[in-house]
């Protein structure tokens, strides 16, 4: 025969299981717990009543009741997990967003494109051991011209139309806005002994009418390396590496003879036109090549001018226009855009 308590346990179990299946939220689950597992639940009351039973019945009913209790507790926690999972899913489902809406705007600032390109140029040289130094934009005629072998009445002065400062001394104007960064060659070498390896960026000025390819204020980077045993091969290697870092590994470069009074031999470097891949276009004058810098071996007289031993030391120097590099890189066709500072232009970089 079956004990009536065991019969009751079966009823408790059936009822609890059935009700648990119907529970659909945390609140209902809590009241289910109180009903079926709480202090006043039938199961609990039954367990408390066990004491009045004979020992062997007590053991039999007790074991069954405790097993049921832990089963129901496990059911409860399972149900709880299911419910919270469902709640998370529901919350996520109802929280769908249009992910194509624009982000909440941050105030977005930018560096001027000339600053950006200049930094890349300098970084390329710094990684090759060059140091960055800077100097004055308002210069003496001596540094800008005389010391770099462009004396007064030299025809090469035509290459640099000059803005002179209104400051006369002995009926001459000795002060000017530097026309190039080359005076920094002299200033640097006056300050230090070889080995020298510097790049010097800065603004330069020309007395020049402006058009899409000419601007009276522009930014240059001068480079100078002086040591024992520096040759044109080093010049080529350094500038070749620079061009590839800035314009891509696949770029080809070309060196040709050119004239600057402060170098001998003189050279300029072109890269194959990145716009037409060297096929010839308007930007490169159909030549397929675009000149990007002037260079050469430092003229022995320049070394002598700063007290270096020109027999012992040789070196190379170069100068390049930052705007020109920026124009090539971004396909800009009018140099005047840089210093017009139109936000519609600046915000593109």
């Amino acid at each position: 025969m079956t004990l009536p308590q065991l019969q009751e346990l079966r009823e408790i179990e059936d009822k609890a299981r059935k009700e648990l299946a119907a529970v659909s939220d945390e609140e209902a689950l809590e009241s289910w717990r109180i009903t079926h597992l709480g202090r006043r639940s039938r199961l609990n009351l039954l367990l408390r009543g066990l004491a009045s039973l004979p020992l062997d019945e007590r053991r039999q009913v007790g074991e069954t009741a405790n097993r049921l209790r832990s089963q129901l507790e496990e059911d409860l926690s399972q149900r709880q997990a299911q419910l919270s999972e469902a709640a998370v899913t529901a919350a996520v489902e109802s929280g769908r967003l249009d992910v194509t809406l624009p982000g909440r705007p941050l105030a977005m600032g930018r560096l001027h494109p000339v600053t950006q390109v200049l930094r890349d140029i300098l970084a390329a040289f710094v990684s090759m051991g060059f140091q960055v130094v800077e100097g004055p934009e308002v210069e003496w005629d001596y540094y800008n011209f005389e010391a770099v072998r462009i004396p007064k009445d030299h025809p090469a002065r035509d290459m640099w139309d000059t803005l002179w400062i209104d400051y006369a001394r002995n009926e001459e104007y000795p002060m000017l806005l530097r026309t190039h960064t080359s005076p920094m060659q002299i200033r640097v070498m006056e300050q230090m002994q070889p080995p020298v390896r510097i790049v010097s960026p800065g603004k330069c000025y020309r007395h020049e009418a402006t058009d899409p390819t000419h601007e009276w204020m522009h930014t240059q980077v001068e480079g100078l390396a002086v040591d024992e045993n520096i040759s044109m091969a080093d010049l080529k290697g350094t500038l070749y590496e620079f061009a590839r870092r800035l314009f891509g590994r696949e770029r080809r470069v070309r060196f040709r003879c050119d004239y600057f009074p402060f170098v001998e031999p003189g050279a300029d470097m072109s890269i194959d036109c990145p716009l037409c891949e060297g096929q010839g276009c308007r930007a490169c004058g159909n030549s397929g090549w675009i000149e990007i810098l002037g260079a050469g071996m430092v003229h022995p007289e320049v070394l002598t001018n700063v007290g270096y031993d020109a027999e012992r030391y040789t070196g190379f120097a170069f100068g390049l226009g930052v705007e020109r590099v920026a124009m090539l890189r971004h396909g800009i066709e009018d140099i005047r855009l840089f210093y017009a500072n139109d936000l519609r232009f600046l915000e593109q970089f």
């Binding site: 624009p102 705007p105 941050l106 105030a107 977005m108 600032g109 930018r110 560096l111 600053t115 090759m128 140091q131 960055v132 004055p136 934009e137 308002v138 210069e139 009445d153 025809p155 803005l163 002179w164 400062i165 209104d166 400051y167 080995p195 000025y205 007395h207 009276w216 204020m217 040591d227 024992e228 045993n229 520096i230 040759s231 044109m232 091969a233 080093d234 080529k236 290697g237 070749y240 070309r254 060196f255 040709r256 003879c257 050119d258 004239y259 009074p261 001998e264 031999p265 003189g266 050279a267 071996m297 040789t314 840089f338 210093y339 500072n341 139109d342 936000l343 519609r344 600046l346 915000e347």
Partner: protein, 800 residues
């Protein structure tokens, strides 16, 4: 410099294609700027020979002209007076495009009946071919013109437009380019002949030449040609001149121009009969001396100018231009021909002073060889004898005080290797130099002695020789190596580093960097600087400004920044925040100016909403200040803000920024009057920082504050103070207490119930100790002390 290839071929055989020739010249230093072609579109026009000219049956002024086109003959009607049998002419067939002789417009030639005679073609004038305006007569081609050849092939030419660098005056001549071509293509140069028969009487005794200022005239050569007939120069010479861009004038003048373009020596022809006393004096101009030059301009000459004078007066500005009074005219029969050499710097100075640049001065100022004078004059005399029917006097007067020895340079193999980075074989060195006209002798064991040809005035040191070798062999042939050797120790660059950091920080804060011109106008500076400052420390002025807009070096970035803002406001709404880091140029007596690294920023417009659109809530002083706070925080610097005053800014809305009690900048609202001067109608806030003053403070590391293991007690304290008490004062008092770990202002309130003239400040204060958990009693005690001190120092009462 324009060099027609046909002309070039007279002196050198060209074995290369046009494009390859252009490439090699460019690579070797003579840049081919452009390759021009002429006469390529003369379709259906060819060289023909006139075989018969007979009268037109019904018209007196027309002739029936029969031409041979090379096997085929055609008869057309021709109205030109100069047509004659035996001439070589340009003949156009029906369908050719010609310039109409009357209208000047291009038109297609059609078959026509002229006065009853069928005419299917035309003998062309220069105008009809588009060569010149001459239409009266037909173009007569040289006798050797090949019959039947398309005219484009015969007359057309390729012209190199060359960019000659200032060190190579020798390349400002067709012969000079021929020398380059020969060296680059392995050819040899044919020098133009300069010999002639001296049929006239000796020049000696009939002309005297004296050089007074020998420092300015190393050489003066003079020749005499008599019995000259002035007329047009032959077509071949005109063709050369036209192709080179020089207008033909007369045989004598054309010859001087031709020889200048051919060998590079400028020449001048005087009418000998107009030279007073048959005497040439080369001297500096006399005080007040004035000369009317060939171009009809009266030119006052200063004492530095060199003139060619006769016994009475100046007849030419040396090396620049001849005088009108001694000009060769149609009546001239005796020519005094000058080929001289002048001091380059002096020519350049006079050219600059007179604002006169000529083909001659462009050559002299670059330093021609005096040796060239004799080459040029002989060549020109020969051509005058040949083409102008002259008799050359016996001998040439040659005054040559500046004769120099031939330049010889000793070049060691080691020097070449050090410059070029490779060891050239002796044979290659000698061959290359010889191809350029240099002499080269190998002196064992290790050096060359190089003799420089007279025309290469630019070569004087071993490194020049290295360049000659490199450019002819090709720079591309030199090896490529990377720098070896020690990398010099790095010098600190604090100013530059700070500047770049400032740019990064402000861009990260949402500001746009701008870069404006360093030169500005006085008017803009006047808008932002007090008059007394401009008076006492006037900005540097450019002596030769391009325009008044770019006349003064800016002493502040303010003006250009406001200008930039103004121009952008024309097409931009909403918040704009701009900054510039650049130099201000502060004059110093008799010294270069101080170039002070400065920062300026402006903010204006409405704050943006969630969509970035303007909200209608304009930015305020505190938006501008936020950028400075962000900047100094990132730089690790603690600055303080104090009431400030500045010309450009609104009083009471201006703060001075101090670092260690030193003023390093300011921030404030731009005075509406100033803004209006820049056409800005809205509120603008501006800040400025003198970066030079900040540099010494940057780079000190911040000291770490230990974190307490014990809990903090947080509470709000609101106090009421007079309006005049500043937040900074209150903050400083609260933060001075040892248990106050942090005090954050979170509200400022001035409405009722706060009494008029007072304000309420609310702080969230955190108390914390590093040693223990604070008791309530400790916190209460600390708060009481804070309130006591606030009351004592700024009259604060606790807001109930």
């Amino acid at each position: 410099m324009k060099v027609p290839l046909k002309w070039l071929r007279e002196y050198v055989d060209i074995s290369l294609s046009t494009s390859e020739l252009a490439r090699r010249l460019t690579m070797a230093g003579t840049e081919v700027d452009a390759i021009l072609t002429t006469g390529r579109d003369w379709e259906k026009i060819s060289v023909a020979e006139v075989v018969d000219v007979s009268p037109h049956p019904t018209a007196d002024r027309l002739r029936l002209t029969t031409v041979d086109l090379g096997g085929e003959q055609m008869t057309v009607v021709c109205g030109a007076p100069n047509v004659a049998a035996g001439q070589k002419v340009a003949f156009a067939r029906v369908g050719a495009e010609l310039i109409d002789g009357h209208s000047g417009e291009p038109a297609i030639l059609k078959a026509a009946k002229i006065r009853g005679v069928e005419s299917a073609g035309m003998v062309c004038s220069e105008k009809e071919l588009g060569l010149s305006d001459s239409h009266e007569s037909i173009l007569v081609l040289p006798e050797d013109a090949p019959v039947g050849t398309p005219l484009g092939e015969y007359l057309g030419d390729t012209i190199f437009d060359l960019d000659i660098t200032p060190n190579r005056p020798d390349c400002m001549s067709v012969l000079g380019i021929a020398r380059e071509v020969a060296a680059l293509s392995g050819g040899s140069v044919r020098e133009p002949p300069g010999d002639y028969e001296e049929q006239g009487r000796p020049i000696k005794g009939r002309l005297s030449v004296e050089i007074v200022d020998r420092d300015l005239c190393p050489r003066y050569c003079a020749a005499l040609i008599e019995g000259v007939q002035i007329g047009p120069s032959p077509p071949w010479m005109q063709e050369c001149l036209l192709a080179a861009g020089v207008r033909p004038i007369s045989n004598v003048v054309d010859i001087t121009n031709y020889v200048m373009l051919e060998v590079g020596q400028p020449l001048h022809a005087f009418d000998f009969s107009l030279i007073s006393d048959r005497k040439i004096v080369v001297r500096r101009a006399r005080p007040g001396e004035v000369l009317m030059t060939l171009d009809g301009t009266e030119r006052p000459l200063n004492n530095d100018a060199l003139v060619i004078a006769d016994a009475k007066e100046a007849v030419a500005v040396a090396g620049l231009m001849g005088g009108a009074a001694s000009e060769v005219t149609e009546k001239t029969t005796a020519i005094l021909l000058e080929a001289a050499n002048f001091n380059p710097a002096n020519i350049r100075r006079t050219s600059t002073t007179l604002k006169l640049r000529t083909d001659a001065s462009a050559r002299f100022e670059k330093g021609l060889s005096p040796e060239l004078a004799m080459v040029g004059i002989r060549r020109a005399v020969r051509l005058m004898v040949e083409l102008a029917g002259g008799r050359a006097a016996e001998g040439i007067i040659d005054v040559y005080p500046g004769k120099k020895r031939i330049t010889r340079i000793t070049v060691t193999q080691e020097r070449l290797r050090r410059i070029l980075g490779l060891q050239l074989p002796t044979l290659q060195v000698r061959q290359t130099l010889t191809s350029l006209g240099f002499g080269c002798r190998w002196v064992p064991p290790d050096r060359y002695v190089v003799r420089v040809p007279y025309w290469r005035t630019d070569v004087s040191i071993p490194d020049d020789v290295a360049e000659e070798l490199a450019r002819i062999i090709g720079y591309d042939e030199l090896p490529i190596t990377t720098l070896r050797g020690a990398i010099p120790p790095a010098q600190p660059q604090p100013s530059r580093e700070l500047r770049e950091r400032v740019k990064d920080i402000l861009a990260a804060a949402g500001m746009q960097e701008v870069i404006a011109y360093s030169l500005t106008n006085l008017e803009s500076l006047t808008k932002v600087l007090p008059p007394e400052e401009l008076r006492e420390r006037p900005p540097l002025r450019v002596a030769n400004p391009m325009s008044q807009q770019q006349e003064y070096l800016r002493t502040t970035l303010r003006a250009s920044l406001l200008g930039t803002l103004s121009s952008n406001l024309r097409h931009r709404q909403g918040r704009i925040a701009l900054f510039e880091v650049a130099r201000a140029y502060l004059p110093r007596p008799d010294e270069l100016p101080q170039e002070m690294e400065s920062l300026a920023g402006v903010v204006t417009g409405d704050r943006p909403d969630r969509w970035g659109q303007p909200t209608g809530e304009p930015v305020a002083l505190y938006d501008a200040k936020a950028y400075l706070e962000f900047l100094f925080d990132r730089l690790g610097l603690t600055v303080t803000y104090h009431d400030g005053e500045e010309f450009t800014l609104v009083p009471g809305r201006t703060a001075e920024v101090r670092l260690d009690d030193q003023r390093v900048g300011l921030v404030g609202q731009v005075h509406p009057r100033v803004a209006a001067a820049f056409d800005i109608e809205q509120d603008v806030y501006l800040f400025e920082v003198n970066l030079e003053a900040v540099v010494p403070q940057v780079g000190k590391p911040r000291l770490y504050q230990p974190l307490s293991r014990f809990p903090a007690v947080e509470e709000d304290i609101a106090i009421v103070v007079d309006e005049g008490v500043t937040a900074a004062q209150v903050q400083a008092i609260i933060e001075a207490f040892p248990l106050v770990q942090r005090a954050v202002l979170f509200d400022v309130y001035t409405e009722a119930p706060v009494p008029k003239g007072k304000k309420s400040l609310a702080y969230s204060v955190a108390y914390q100790s590093l040693e223990h958990t604070l008791s309530e009693a400790e916190v209460n005690r600390e708060r009481r002390r804070i309130l006591d001190r606030l009351k004592g120092q700024v009259g604060a009462v606790l807001r109930s």
